[in-house]
Symmetry: C2
Subunit: 129 residues, 2 copies
DNA sequence: CGGAATCCCCGTGGATACTG
DNA sequence: CAGTATCCACGGGGATTCCG
């Protein structure tokens, strides 16, 4: 990497350039936009959910992945974990303010996929030929 | 019916039951919302790009991943590949109509990450303690 | 220039079993 | 109920090399 590139990098970081490989939001973005991240956040849009409820709601996810992604989302300040000191223990996950603000753009994106499902699948078929 | 249920219903109507593990759009969604998919589409929003231009623009992507994801995007009908029969060959990628319609929601999402970068990083730091 | 092919490593992610 | 721990397989993804 040349000095010019470094300068370029610095400027882009300051500007919040999403394309820069050094952009620190990338790992977070990866988590959120990942296979399960989107679905978990989307599931929580409708309100708080318990662990097992999420597990049931989101088809095909394993406990490990759910727990792992939830931890990451909590760590990013998008989700809060609430523990009721009852027996048996009862843990509830819900979106933070930040998480709620993310929900808009995210569900828009999911909505797009829903609306354009037919065209996407059609394109897939053509290619498969 | 609670407010949550109403929201739930709306969301599922919009998304075409995105939570179903059998939903055929999932693999496509994974591709597009994946680490590189989002950035590639976002990069093409500003207009057609050549292979090397994309490679330069998107920091940290390998040729393999770029080529691979581009193929997937073409296969999904989001991107068109144009070959100029010159020497040396010149290949240009651009968004289809479908791709353009995706660009909106997608850049909104990227924009969200840009705007909330500070808060995300702050939350990360707190957790790291 | 724009890839395709190969090699190889490491992380993701699934299944299962165990803890508090 | 809500996880954690362990094992294990697969594929994502990087570096390199070669081709049209």
């Amino acid at each position: 990497m040349t000095v010019g590139d470094q300068l370029n990098t610095s400027l882009r970081l300051l500007a919040g350039d999403t394309f820069d490989s050094e952009c620190p939001t990338r790992p977070i973005m990866d988590k959120v936009t990942s296979r399960w991240g989107t679905l978990i956040v989307a599931a929580l849009v409708t309100g708080p959910h318990r662990f097992s409820a999420l597990h049931r709601r989101i088809g095909g996810i394993s406990q490990k992945m759910l727990s792992q992604h939830l931890k990451a989302l909590v760590g990013s300040g998008l989700v809060v974990r609430t523990v009721e000191p009852t027996v048996p223990p009862q843990v509830t996950y819900s979106l933070t303010e930040l998480g709620m603000s993310l929900a808009g753009p995210l569900t828009d994106l999911l909505g797009w996929f829903g609306r354009n499902r037919a065209e996407l699948l059609a394109a897939q078929q053509q290619t498969a030929d």
